[in-house]
């Protein structure tokens, strides 16, 4: 399989290509630099999405430590933090898959994390809305 890395598309001198990871840079040939840069920016945007989830979780725990909020808030904060970390990891792996696809001139993989993120945000919103309705009904 590794013979394909020295295929006809390889550019430059193969000896002094030190870039890591080799699983990405060892295959195919360098694509248009704009595509690689755009792929990098996409991964960074995913990382920022994960970071904002972590920030939301940290903010919720801080809030819960100030006021005596119920355990639902703590659970939501925990889930948000873990989901943010998972999203950052998935950014790394989808960057690798996309860069490999670019180098091998294959179709780009589908964004795997997107449906999970949407489902998570919808579930989170529904839980919080249900909690708010519950509180309202308790007050009335």
């Amino acid at each position: 399989m590794s013979e394909s890395s020295a295929g006809p598309g390889s550019s430059g001198e193969p000896g002094d290509d030190e870039r890591r990871p080799r699983a990405v840079y060892g295959v195919g040939s360098d694509p248009d630099v704009r595509f690689s840069l755009a792929n990098e920016r996409t991964a960074l945007a995913w990382v920022r999405t994960g970071l904002s989830l972590v920030a939301g979780g940290v903010a919720l725990t801080t809030l819960a430590s100030f006021a005596d909020l119920p355990w639902v808030i703590d659970v939501i904060a925990l889930v948000a933090c873990l989901a943010g970390g998972a999203l950052a990891l998935s950014a790394l792996f989808s960057w690798r898959r996309a860069e490999r696809a670019l180098r091998l001139d294959l179709p780009l993989p589908a964004p795997v994390a997107l449906p999970w993120l949407v489902i998570g945000v919808v579930v989170l919103a529904l839980v919080l809305a249900g909690y708010a309705v519950f509180e309202l009904a308790g007050d009335l």
Binding site: V33, R34, E40, V54, T62, S65
Partner: protein, 100 residues
């Protein structure tokens, strides 16, 4: 190799790195203070290390880009932003010290 500039792609990527590093540093600082308040010093230490690492990444990327372009990374804008940032951090620390 030097003048490939279709749509400022390298600059946009560098800015994306800056945004990511800055928000990482901010979230880490937030977490550090949350841990400080919750009496969890190990968490504070780890979060502070992450914040320092993010700032190092930020300035490392700036320095590399500046060396590539052959200009000083310490433009007047950078100096002013650093001063404002340092003032903001000092103010925040002071406020937290007074608060707790």
């Amino acid at each position: 190799m030097a003048r490939r500039d279709p749509g400022l792609q390298p600059e946009r990527t560098a800015l994306s790195w800056q945004r990511t590093a800055l928000s990482t540093a901010l979230v880490a600082l937030l977490l550090a203070f949350a841990c400080l308040k919750g009496n969890f010093p190990i968490g504070t230490g780890i979060a502070a290390l992450v914040a320092v690492g993010a700032v190092v990444v930020l300035f490392g990327a700036r320095g590399r880009a500046a060396r590539r372009e052959g200009v000083s990374p310490w433009t007047p804008l950078t100096r002013i932003s650093l001063l404002i940032g340092a003032t903001a951090v000092l103010g925040g620390v002071l406020a937290l010290l007074i608060l707790f």
